[in-house]
Symmetry: C2
Subunit: 145 residues, 2 copies
DNA sequence: GTCCCTGCAAACGTTTTGCAGCAGT
DNA sequence: ACTGCTGCAAAACGTTTGCAGGGAC
Protein backbone atom coordinates (compact mmCIF):
# COMPACT_ATOMS: atom_id res chain seq x y z
CA UNK A 1 0.00 0.00 0.00
CA UNK A 2 1.40 3.38 -0.94
CA UNK A 3 1.39 6.28 1.47
CA UNK A 4 -1.27 8.03 -0.60
CA UNK A 5 -3.51 5.00 -0.37
CA UNK A 6 -2.95 4.72 3.36
CA UNK A 7 -3.97 8.35 3.82
CA UNK A 8 -7.07 8.11 1.65
CA UNK A 9 -8.05 4.94 3.46
CA UNK A 10 -8.45 6.91 6.69
CA UNK A 11 -10.28 9.71 4.88
CA UNK A 12 -7.46 12.18 4.37
CA UNK A 13 -6.56 13.82 1.07
CA UNK A 14 -3.12 12.74 -0.03
CA UNK A 15 -1.34 16.08 0.05
CA UNK A 16 2.39 16.52 -0.18
CA UNK A 17 2.99 17.65 3.43
CA UNK A 18 0.91 14.77 4.80
CA UNK A 19 2.78 12.25 2.68
CA UNK A 20 6.14 13.68 3.71
CA UNK A 21 5.29 13.62 7.39
CA UNK A 22 3.84 10.13 7.32
CA UNK A 23 6.82 8.68 5.46
CA UNK A 24 9.19 10.53 7.71
CA UNK A 25 7.61 9.04 10.81
CA UNK A 26 7.99 5.61 9.32
CA UNK A 27 11.65 5.94 8.55
CA UNK A 28 13.08 7.64 11.63
CA UNK A 29 14.49 5.50 14.35
CA UNK A 30 13.27 7.46 17.36
CA UNK A 31 9.62 6.63 17.81
CA UNK A 32 8.59 9.35 20.26
CA UNK A 33 8.96 12.88 18.94
CA UNK A 34 7.59 16.34 19.63
CA UNK A 35 6.22 18.52 16.84
CA UNK A 36 9.34 20.65 17.07
CA UNK A 37 11.57 17.54 16.90
CA UNK A 38 9.81 16.48 13.75
CA UNK A 39 10.07 19.96 12.27
CA UNK A 40 13.79 20.20 12.93
CA UNK A 41 14.56 16.65 11.86
CA UNK A 42 12.65 17.10 8.63
CA UNK A 43 14.47 20.35 7.91
CA UNK A 44 17.76 18.54 8.40
CA UNK A 45 16.45 15.92 6.02
CA UNK A 46 15.67 18.60 3.41
CA UNK A 47 11.95 18.11 3.83
CA UNK A 48 10.45 21.53 4.51
CA UNK A 49 7.00 21.59 6.09
CA UNK A 50 5.70 24.48 8.19
CA UNK A 51 5.49 23.91 11.91
CA UNK A 52 1.81 24.86 11.97
CA UNK A 53 1.15 22.25 9.34
CA UNK A 54 2.97 19.64 11.35
CA UNK A 55 0.69 20.38 14.28
CA UNK A 56 -2.41 20.28 12.09
CA UNK A 57 -1.38 17.09 10.34
CA UNK A 58 -0.43 15.31 13.55
CA UNK A 59 -3.79 16.21 15.03
CA UNK A 60 -5.53 14.77 11.97
CA UNK A 61 -3.36 11.67 12.11
CA UNK A 62 -4.26 11.27 15.76
CA UNK A 63 -7.98 11.52 14.99
CA UNK A 64 -7.49 8.96 12.22
CA UNK A 65 -5.66 6.60 14.56
CA UNK A 66 -2.38 6.78 12.65
CA UNK A 67 -0.55 8.44 15.50
CA UNK A 68 -0.73 8.51 19.29
CA UNK A 69 -0.18 11.67 21.30
CA UNK A 70 1.55 11.36 24.67
CA UNK A 71 1.93 13.80 27.53
CA UNK A 72 4.88 12.28 29.30
CA UNK A 73 6.14 15.54 30.70
CA UNK A 74 3.17 17.82 30.46
CA UNK A 75 5.00 20.72 28.87
CA UNK A 76 4.82 19.34 25.36
CA UNK A 77 3.31 16.45 23.45
CA UNK A 78 5.22 13.55 21.99
CA UNK A 79 3.86 11.77 18.96
CA UNK A 80 4.31 8.14 18.09
CA UNK A 81 3.34 6.29 14.95
CA UNK A 82 0.60 3.91 16.04
CA UNK A 83 -0.36 1.01 13.84
CA UNK A 84 -3.97 2.04 13.59
CA UNK A 85 -6.84 1.80 16.05
CA UNK A 86 -5.45 0.34 19.23
CA UNK A 87 -3.68 -2.56 17.58
CA UNK A 88 -0.26 -3.19 19.10
CA UNK A 89 -1.16 -1.27 22.21
CA UNK A 90 1.65 -0.82 24.68
CA UNK A 91 2.59 1.23 27.70
CA UNK A 92 5.77 3.16 28.50
CA UNK A 93 8.65 2.98 30.91
CA UNK A 94 10.43 6.34 30.85
CA UNK A 95 13.94 6.84 32.21
CA UNK A 96 14.07 10.14 34.08
CA UNK A 97 17.85 10.12 33.81
CA UNK A 98 18.43 9.94 30.05
CA UNK A 99 14.91 10.12 28.68
CA UNK A 100 15.03 6.68 27.08
CA UNK A 101 11.59 5.28 26.48
CA UNK A 102 11.02 1.55 26.79
CA UNK A 103 7.75 0.19 25.45
CA UNK A 104 6.10 -2.77 27.09
CA UNK A 105 2.89 -4.71 27.17
CA UNK A 106 1.57 -6.64 30.13
CA UNK A 107 -1.59 -8.68 29.90
CA UNK A 108 -2.17 -8.73 33.66
CA UNK A 109 -2.13 -4.94 33.84
CA UNK A 110 -4.43 -4.65 30.84
CA UNK A 111 -6.98 -7.05 32.28
CA UNK A 112 -6.85 -5.57 35.74
CA UNK A 113 -7.56 -2.11 34.36
CA UNK A 114 -10.67 -3.34 32.65
CA UNK A 115 -11.76 -4.91 35.90
CA UNK A 116 -11.07 -1.72 37.88
CA UNK A 117 -13.10 0.37 35.43
CA UNK A 118 -15.97 -2.09 35.74
CA UNK A 119 -15.74 -1.92 39.52
CA UNK A 120 -16.55 1.81 39.36
CA UNK A 121 -19.16 1.55 36.63
CA UNK A 122 -16.95 3.18 34.01
CA UNK A 123 -16.79 2.15 30.39
CA UNK A 124 -13.09 2.13 29.60
CA UNK A 125 -12.08 4.00 26.46
CA UNK A 126 -8.35 4.31 26.73
CA UNK A 127 -5.58 4.51 29.24
CA UNK A 128 -2.02 5.66 29.63
CA UNK A 129 0.40 4.11 31.98
CA UNK A 130 3.74 5.85 32.34
CA UNK A 131 6.22 4.33 34.69
CA UNK A 132 9.10 6.64 35.53
CA UNK A 133 12.34 5.07 36.63
CA UNK A 134 16.05 4.82 36.12
CA UNK A 135 17.37 2.55 33.41
CA UNK A 136 20.34 0.26 33.99
CA UNK A 137 22.98 2.73 32.75
CA UNK A 138 21.56 5.63 34.71
CA UNK A 139 21.53 3.55 37.90
CA UNK A 140 25.23 2.82 37.43
CA UNK A 141 25.96 6.46 36.69
CA UNK A 142 24.05 7.48 39.81
CA UNK A 143 26.06 5.09 41.98
CA UNK A 144 29.38 6.37 40.68
CA UNK A 145 28.53 10.09 40.65
CA UNK B 1 0.57 19.88 64.00
CA UNK B 2 -0.01 23.43 62.84
CA UNK B 3 0.36 24.42 59.20
CA UNK B 4 3.50 26.38 60.04
CA UNK B 5 5.05 23.34 61.63
CA UNK B 6 4.10 21.15 58.67
CA UNK B 7 5.79 23.59 56.30
CA UNK B 8 8.94 23.90 58.34
CA UNK B 9 9.09 20.15 58.66
CA UNK B 10 9.56 19.85 54.90
CA UNK B 11 12.09 22.67 54.85
CA UNK B 12 9.91 25.59 53.80
CA UNK B 13 9.66 28.90 55.56
CA UNK B 14 6.20 29.42 56.98
CA UNK B 15 5.12 32.44 54.99
CA UNK B 16 1.58 33.77 54.80
CA UNK B 17 0.91 32.80 51.16
CA UNK B 18 2.22 29.27 51.71
CA UNK B 19 0.10 28.82 54.81
CA UNK B 20 -3.00 30.14 53.04
CA UNK B 21 -2.53 27.87 50.05
CA UNK B 22 -1.82 24.78 52.13
CA UNK B 23 -4.83 25.31 54.36
CA UNK B 24 -6.99 26.09 51.37
CA UNK B 25 -6.04 22.81 49.70
CA UNK B 26 -6.96 20.97 52.85
CA UNK B 27 -10.39 22.46 53.18
CA UNK B 28 -11.74 22.44 49.60
CA UNK B 29 -13.81 19.51 48.49
CA UNK B 30 -12.51 19.18 44.94
CA UNK B 31 -9.15 17.47 45.17
CA UNK B 32 -7.82 18.06 41.65
CA UNK B 33 -7.34 21.71 40.74
CA UNK B 34 -5.38 23.81 38.29
CA UNK B 35 -3.34 26.80 39.44
CA UNK B 36 -5.98 29.08 37.93
CA UNK B 37 -8.76 27.16 39.73
CA UNK B 38 -6.95 27.65 43.01
CA UNK B 39 -6.36 31.32 42.28
CA UNK B 40 -10.03 31.97 41.48
CA UNK B 41 -11.38 29.88 44.31
CA UNK B 42 -9.11 31.59 46.81
CA UNK B 43 -10.18 35.00 45.53
CA UNK B 44 -13.80 33.99 46.04
CA UNK B 45 -12.80 32.92 49.52
CA UNK B 46 -11.27 36.35 50.19
CA UNK B 47 -7.76 34.91 50.24
CA UNK B 48 -5.68 36.96 47.84
CA UNK B 49 -2.47 35.38 46.61
CA UNK B 50 -0.81 36.27 43.31
CA UNK B 51 -1.09 33.70 40.53
CA UNK B 52 2.69 33.62 40.06
CA UNK B 53 3.07 32.85 43.73
CA UNK B 54 0.59 30.02 43.47
CA UNK B 55 2.68 28.49 40.72
CA UNK B 56 5.88 28.95 42.70
CA UNK B 57 4.42 27.58 45.90
CA UNK B 58 2.82 24.58 44.22
CA UNK B 59 6.14 23.73 42.60
CA UNK B 60 7.82 23.89 45.99
CA UNK B 61 5.07 21.80 47.55
CA UNK B 62 5.52 19.25 44.80
CA UNK B 63 9.26 19.06 45.43
CA UNK B 64 8.53 18.65 49.13
CA UNK B 65 6.06 15.85 48.49
CA UNK B 66 3.07 17.77 49.83
CA UNK B 67 1.37 17.94 46.48
CA UNK B 68 1.18 15.84 43.31
CA UNK B 69 1.12 17.39 39.85
CA UNK B 70 -0.95 15.65 37.19
CA UNK B 71 -1.07 16.09 33.42
CA UNK B 72 -4.43 14.55 32.69
CA UNK B 73 -5.10 16.68 29.63
CA UNK B 74 -1.70 17.94 28.69
CA UNK B 75 -2.70 21.57 28.30
CA UNK B 76 -2.51 22.39 31.98
CA UNK B 77 -1.49 20.81 35.25
CA UNK B 78 -3.83 19.74 38.00
CA UNK B 79 -2.59 19.67 41.56
CA UNK B 80 -3.68 17.36 44.32
CA UNK B 81 -2.82 17.39 47.99
CA UNK B 82 -0.74 14.27 48.57
CA UNK B 83 -0.20 13.05 52.09
CA UNK B 84 3.58 13.14 51.84
CA UNK B 85 6.04 10.85 50.12
CA UNK B 86 4.00 8.26 48.30
CA UNK B 87 1.80 7.34 51.20
CA UNK B 88 -1.82 6.84 50.15
CA UNK B 89 -0.79 6.39 46.57
CA UNK B 90 -3.61 5.96 44.11
CA UNK B 91 -4.32 6.09 40.40
CA UNK B 92 -7.04 7.88 38.46
CA UNK B 93 -10.05 7.02 36.37
CA UNK B 94 -11.04 10.13 34.41
CA UNK B 95 -14.44 10.53 32.77
CA UNK B 96 -14.00 12.11 29.37
CA UNK B 97 -17.67 13.09 29.38
CA UNK B 98 -17.98 15.20 32.52
CA UNK B 99 -14.42 15.34 33.78
CA UNK B 100 -15.16 13.54 37.03
CA UNK B 101 -12.07 11.99 38.54
CA UNK B 102 -12.36 8.73 40.44
CA UNK B 103 -9.40 7.68 42.51
CA UNK B 104 -8.55 4.03 42.95
CA UNK B 105 -5.86 1.72 44.20
CA UNK B 106 -5.23 -1.78 42.96
CA UNK B 107 -2.58 -3.95 44.51
CA UNK B 108 -2.29 -6.25 41.47
CA UNK B 109 -1.51 -3.32 39.18
CA UNK B 110 1.00 -1.91 41.64
CA UNK B 111 2.86 -5.19 42.00
CA UNK B 112 2.81 -5.96 38.32
CA UNK B 113 4.35 -2.59 37.53
CA UNK B 114 7.22 -3.28 39.85
CA UNK B 115 7.73 -6.60 38.13
CA UNK B 116 7.63 -5.03 34.67
CA UNK B 117 10.22 -2.44 35.65
CA UNK B 118 12.44 -5.19 36.98
CA UNK B 119 12.02 -7.15 33.76
CA UNK B 120 13.63 -4.28 31.85
CA UNK B 121 16.29 -3.50 34.42
CA UNK B 122 14.68 -0.24 35.50
CA UNK B 123 14.54 1.00 39.05
CA UNK B 124 11.00 2.26 39.45
CA UNK B 125 10.62 5.74 40.90
CA UNK B 126 7.05 6.65 40.24
CA UNK B 127 4.23 6.02 37.87
CA UNK B 128 0.99 7.51 36.66
CA UNK B 129 -1.87 5.48 35.42
CA UNK B 130 -4.76 7.41 33.92
CA UNK B 131 -7.68 5.41 32.67
CA UNK B 132 -10.02 7.40 30.47
CA UNK B 133 -13.60 6.25 30.24
CA UNK B 134 -17.23 7.17 30.56
CA UNK B 135 -18.81 7.19 33.99
CA UNK B 136 -22.24 5.70 34.60
CA UNK B 137 -24.18 8.93 34.09
CA UNK B 138 -22.30 9.83 30.93
CA UNK B 139 -22.96 6.38 29.47
CA UNK B 140 -26.68 6.86 30.03
CA UNK B 141 -26.56 10.35 28.55
CA UNK B 142 -24.71 8.98 25.51
CA UNK B 143 -27.35 6.29 24.97
CA UNK B 144 -30.21 8.77 25.10
CA UNK B 145 -28.60 11.59 23.11
C1' DG C 1 -13.56 24.60 -10.92
C1' DT C 2 -14.27 23.57 -6.37
C1' DC C 3 -12.96 22.85 -1.94
C1' DC C 4 -9.66 21.80 1.18
C1' DC C 5 -5.00 22.50 2.30
C1' DT C 6 -0.75 25.10 3.41
C1' DG C 7 2.36 28.75 5.11
C1' DC C 8 3.02 32.75 7.48
C1' DA C 9 2.47 35.63 11.25
C1' DA C 10 -0.18 36.87 14.86
C1' DA C 11 -2.94 35.25 18.82
C1' DC C 12 -3.61 32.20 22.58
C1' DG C 13 -3.48 30.14 27.36
C1' DT C 14 -0.46 28.44 30.66
C1' DT C 15 3.61 28.86 33.11
C1' DT C 16 8.04 31.24 34.25
C1' DT C 17 10.95 35.10 35.30
C1' DG C 18 13.18 39.93 36.49
C1' DC C 19 12.87 43.13 39.63
C1' DA C 20 11.83 46.12 43.55
C1' DG C 21 9.82 46.03 47.91
C1' DC C 22 8.44 43.21 52.02
C1' DA C 23 8.18 39.47 55.55
C1' DG C 24 10.06 35.58 58.31
C1' DT C 25 13.62 34.10 61.22
C1' DA D 1 19.62 42.56 59.82
C1' DC D 2 19.83 39.19 56.54
C1' DT D 3 17.87 36.26 53.44
C1' DG D 4 14.55 34.65 50.86
C1' DC D 5 9.83 35.53 49.59
C1' DT D 6 5.97 37.99 47.09
C1' DG D 7 3.52 40.69 43.59
C1' DC D 8 3.35 42.70 39.40
C1' DA D 9 4.07 42.95 34.68
C1' DA D 10 6.44 41.24 31.01
C1' DA D 11 8.41 37.29 28.72
C1' DA D 12 8.54 32.62 27.29
C1' DC D 13 6.78 28.42 25.89
C1' DG D 14 4.16 25.13 23.09
C1' DT D 15 0.22 25.25 20.39
C1' DT D 16 -3.74 27.15 17.62
C1' DT D 17 -5.90 30.19 14.35
C1' DG D 18 -7.12 33.83 10.51
C1' DC D 19 -6.18 34.67 6.18
C1' DA D 20 -4.63 34.77 1.39
C1' DG D 21 -2.66 31.96 -2.01
C1' DG D 22 -1.98 27.18 -3.88
C1' DG D 23 -2.82 22.21 -4.73
C1' DA D 24 -5.66 17.82 -4.92
C1' DC D 25 -9.50 15.79 -6.96
Amino acid sequence: MTTSEALRKVGLKATLPRIKIFEFLQRIEERHLSAENIYQAMLADHEEVGLATIYRVLTQFEAAGLVIRHHFEGDRSLFELGTNKGANHHDHLVCIGCGTIQEFFDEVIEQTQIEVAKRFGYKIIDHNLHIQGLCGSCQEAAEKG
